[in-house]
């Protein structure tokens, strides 16, 4: 009997041998990452500066991008030795581990014979001592910043598993002048504030610029020629056309995910109806009845649904309907009003402005109306807009003194940052990731 017991005991042993430990918590902290200046094999003068200086600037841009995402913490360069060309492909991992870096971004800058630049970009896992990804980018000297953004996107997407958003641009309304005679111009800039320029002169009021998710096309509302209406503007060709031929004001445009259609509102007496407009055929379809104020339509990323705001139930709330206008259902019920919804390109969330208790705050909610979360808590935060990867929300903040600025916040509600603009800024719209 005893023998049997022991035998059973021994048989049972291997099954129980393996210990399994559940790790159900971690630390939501940014990943420490080292981005030393990119070396160059031969210092060459280029129209954008010497390759050595560019190598340092490129690392600086990558560092700024990654740090700005809130998911990474760039380590001070003083903490590790600057790698030379030989170390680009054989990094001194020990030194970077000592500096507490978990990942290393390095690379090089080379001036090519044809006047272009090639920027090499390498990402290493410092603890596993493994190369994770590498990629080269050839650019003209004038476009050197894009190489840094592309490298940032490469690193971001490899380490997070989500697509990046650094090589993209933002359009917004630049505001100058006294409040009684405010001049509003469309301005465009890189996502990090560089390469800023104005698209309109300021002679006509412009509002609500929106980027097409598919290409370099903008839609916006302009009061040009005394007719407030929506225009579509192709940045690359300079071509522009008014949307539809409505006798009344059109406003609040937003592109469909494929960029072929535009949904917007048309004023009807004291109310407004939502229309979809096919850009190529210039034909429009009415989607909502117009018995209420229906506005701010935004397509789901699959193009099958539209979220919009309406006061049909008595107060301004969010509704989701099919893209043909059928089956509208209300999704916000909390206290206060809800407006300017925008569907995440990832599809899982809708960002909007929650108006309650005299405050405007940026919030997110699931398309089925569950899981509402307030992301910001300031006096007037409004006009949310998603980064191309659906991870970051851009919005405008108005201070009590009237000044306005662009801000961004992670969808987890962390990392509330100011986006630098040369003048007061409102109504931002994030463009797609550049090809």
């Amino acid at each position: 009997m005893k023998h049997l017991l022991l035998a059973l005991l021994l048989l049972a042993a291997p099954a129980a041998a393996q210990l399994r430990v559940d790790i159900t918590s971690g630390v939501a902290a940014p990943m420490p990452i080292a981005v030393p200046g990119f070396p160059t094999a031969a210092i060459t003068e280029t129209p954008a500066g010497s390759t050595a200086a560019l190598g340092r600037q490129i690392a600086g841009i990558i560092s700024n991008n990654l740090g700005g995402s809130g998911l990474f913490r760039p380590i001070n360069e003083a903490a590790f030795p600057a790698p030379g060309m030989a170390q680009v492909q054989a990094p001194q991992f020990t030194a970077f581990r000592t500096a507490a870096a978990q990942a290393l971004v390095t690379g090089f800058v080379t001036a090519n014979g044809d006047g272009t630049l090639t920027v090499g970009c390498y990402l290493y896992d410092v603890f596993a001592e493994q190369e994770l990804v590498r990629q080269g980018f050839t650019v003209t000297p004038a476009g050197w910043r894009r190489a840094a953004h592309k490298c940032s996107d490469l690193v971001y997407s490899r380490l997070t598993g989500e697509s990046g958003y650094f090589d993209s641009r933002v359009v917004y309304v630049a505001e100058t002048g006294p409040r009684t005679k405010r001049i509003k111009r469309l301005a465009i800039m890189d996502q990090d504030g560089a390469n800023h320029r104005y698209l309109t002169s300021g002679q006509s009021l412009v509002l609500m610029p929106r980027f097409s998710p598919a290409d370099e096309t903008l839609a916006y509302m302009s009061f040009v020629n005394d007719r407030p209406r929506v225009w579509v503007y192709n940045i690359s060709t300079g071509q522009q056309q008014a949307v539809g031929d409505f006798n009344s004001m059109t406003f609040a445009p937003r592109f469909s995910p494929d960029g072929r259609k535009l949904a917007f509102s048309v004023m009807r007496g004291g109310n407004s109806a939502i229309y979809a407009w096919d850009i190529a055929s210039r034909s429009s379809t009415q989607l909502t009845g117009g018995g209420a104020i229906d506005t701010s339509p935004s397509y789901s990323p699959d193009g099958k649904q539209i979220v919009f705001e309406s006061d049909r139930g008595g107060s301004q709330q969010l509704y989701v309907m099919n893209a043909d206008g059928s089956n509208p259902r209300r999704i916000t019920f909390g206290s206060g009003r809800a407006g300017s919804p925008v569907w995440s390109p990832r599809g899982d969330l809708i960002a909007f402005t929650r108006m309650d208790g005299g405050k405007f705050r940026v919030a997110v909610i699931r398309p089925d109306g569950s899981g509402e979360r307030l992301l910001t808590d300031s006096w007037q935060d409004e006009g949310p807009n998603w980064s191309p990867n659906g991870r970051v929300i851009l919005f405008s903040r108005t201070e009590r003194n009237g000044s306005t600025s662009l801000r961004s916040i992670d969808l987890t509600g962390r990392n509330d940052r100011r986006i630098p603009t040369p003048v007061d800024a409102s109504d931002p719209a994030w463009g797609p990731l550049l090809p």
Binding site: K2, H3, L6, L9, L11, A13, P14, A16, A17, L19, R20, D22, I23, T24, S25, G26, V27, A28, A29, P30, A90, T94, R97, T98, Q102, G107, T110, G120, F127, A128, E129, G136, F137, V139, A142, G143, R145, R146, R158, G161, T200, S201, G202, Q203, L205, S222, F223, V224, N225, D226, P228, Y233, S236, G238, Q240, G270, I293, Q316, D410, L434
Partner: protein
């Protein structure tokens, strides 16, 4: 009229007023029907699309694709190699033994084995986030078991022979297991930065197989065992998720665990599950 309608009317009114006020200004401008007031823009300003070169210049192909993982101290040297099926006793078995009367006040804890000659990875452990030491651990286990003998006092010749074949510390009580688990958890969790905010994080977990040397250093790179929540659509995210788990283990090594229970933590599995965090 609702508040929203009023707001929209007011907004519309203001916009129209602004338009009317701007009218004079606009009229004085030369009419440019199609490109009213857009400054010319050259799309080229963005810069041409970066050419994705096959491989950046300096002798990429000559470079080793990736360095070998850091050479671990060879396992056989450190490992007294206990006979495979013997070392472990399932908790249920121990429960049977526990009620046995206890002749001596308490069993002498196994003398802690001196740490094996350290020839570990060429890495210096970063400051460990949690304070943990094996001595305290042993004391803790000891305290937990004032009456439970670590080994049965039953002394049939057969049992004795089995017992002598068991490596020291092979027997382990549920409490010891729980304490050991807690020791591992408390050292790994502070090193883990799960990727937060990902669209699929709510469903994702990963199990890794961990092999440790007697000094707590990594004997072999953490091995992927299984994963939940990975789909065809989230491969990149699933991979990044697994890497955060592996990185947590590598970052935290060497672990500080009771040497006398080495047979139980020489190899174990870690199940990384951030669902409670989101």
């Amino acid at each position: 009229m609702t508040e929203g309608q009023a707001l929209l009317l007011a907004t519309g009114g203001h916009l129209l007023l602004l338009a009317v006020l701007s009218f004079g200004l606009i009229k004085s401008l030369p009419p440019t029907p199609h490109q009213p007031d857009i400054t010319p823009i050259d799309y080229v300003e963005i810069g041409p699309e970066p050419t994705v070169t096959e491989a950046p210049k300096p002798s990429m192909d000559a470079a080793p694709r990736e360095p070998e993982p850091p050479a671990p101290a060879p396992e056989p040297v450190l490992q007294p190699a206990p006979p495979e099926p013997v070392p472990d006793i399932s908790p249920q078995d121990v429960v049977i033994e526990e009620p046995e009367p206890q002749p001596k006040p308490k069993p002498k804890p196994e003398p802690k084995k001196p740490a094996e000659a350290k020839a570990p990875l060429k890495k210096e452990p970063l400051k460990k986030p949690e304070t943990f030491n094996a001595g305290q651990m042993a004391a803790l286990i000891d305290k937990n078991l004032p009456d439970a003998p670590a080994r049965p006092r039953d002394v049939s010749a057969f049992a004795k022979s089995i017992e002598s074949a068991l490596p020291k510390g092979a027997r382990i009580s549920p409490r010891q297991i729980a304490t050991l688990e807690q020791a591992i958890r408390s050292q790994i969790a502070p090193c883990w930065n799960p990727p937060m905010g990902g669209a699929d994080v709510a469903e994702m977990t990963v199990v890794l197989q961990i092999s440790l040397n007697r000094d707590g250093s990594i004997a072999a790179p953490p091995k992927f065992v299984s994963q939940t929540g990975a789909t065809a659509g989230n491969q990149a995210y699933a991979r990044a998720f697994v890497e955060t788990a592996k990185r947590a283990v590598l970052r935290c090594a060497p672990l500080s665990l009771p040497a006398d229970l080495y047979a139980h933590w020489r190899e174990f599995e870690l199940n990384f599950d951030p669902r409670l965090m989101t």
